[in-house]
Amino acid sequence: MNEPNNTSWEELDKVWRKKIQDQSDEVPSNLWDKIETKLDEQEVRPMWTRIRLSPWTWSAAAVISILIGLNWNQSPQEEKGIPLVVESKTKPTTLESIPLPSDVDAIVSTKVKLTIDQEPSAPPVIEKLPNVDSPVVEEAKEPIAAMAPKQENDEEIWVRVDIDPVEEKAMPVAVAYRENEPPKQKQRGLGRFLKQLKQVVKGEEPVWQELREGKPSFIDGIHQVANTYYRTEQTVKQTFQLQ
């Protein structure tokens, strides 16, 4: 093979370089508009796609989002428009709450009608039940309805009061729950998850099955969170590839 004599070519390169490097061509008039549009589109992009974070930060964010997802998935369905039903069972703690004649032995049932109107401090009207033969406990001398003009929108709350002398020491019981709602779990998802984690830290074997108890949608939730994590990871990878 012969070695090429590029001396003159090198000189020629310099001459041509000098001539060409400052050469300018005409640019299509709409090119700037296209660039401007693209730049605007980039500015509109969500902030998180433009944030440059380290992989550790993204990983931490993903773990936090998984935990939040688990907790959200396990939380009771609050504020979802389910009508609240309040059932009130009131048992007087002592007989002093309603003055009774001393010779009353039998169980006395009364039906108390509470009428909510303009005067909340007014005493309630107490009606005697028709099948009760025992003495009337007490009747309001003047019904509230007679004191104030009755309104159509008056709200009535009926409270059944059972007076059982045998269970004098029983405390008042009030139970509030939502219709079609399963009993509230004692420990929420995150709490149970942390409990399992503590077990792992102590060296005991965790019972992951507990996390799924009472929540058939838990597995779906896990898949959703996992998919979100996977998509986030892909986005991060693409971002770093572009950089």
Partner: protein, 159 residues
Amino acid sequence: MGQHAVFNRYSGKMMAVCRRYLGVGPDAEDALMEGFMKVFTKIDSFKEDGSFEGWIRRIMVNECLMKIRKQGDMYSKPIEEAWGIGQADEAFMYLCTAEIEALIAELPPGYRTVFNLYAIEGYSHDEIATMLQISAGTSKSQLSRARTMIQQKMKLIEL
């Protein structure tokens, strides 16, 4: 607006760069557009130790190379044919810019790319090998072929 000013100042020169690599057509315009998008979005990475125009030019050249790379392998030619090229004709020195551009534009894409990178941009064969993901020998081969072809074309013009 600063971006528009930068575009107005450098777009003509960069259009010439893109057309020298990709020819007159939509590819050159696309490369110019993508190149300016990178200029505006990566302006933070510009270090002031070099010239701003040189930085923009490198971005444009890279954009052009990316487009050329998509066109496939055009550098796989035997190296042995590269050598044995004579000296340049003195007439080459007096060619005007338009004639030089026309000569370069007529080269096949592979030759044209290496010739542009070596003769016009001033990159070494090793740098070109890295940029095009070919060997330094292939880069030399392509350059020699490009020069041979230019010589042949000049002879045709003189005749």
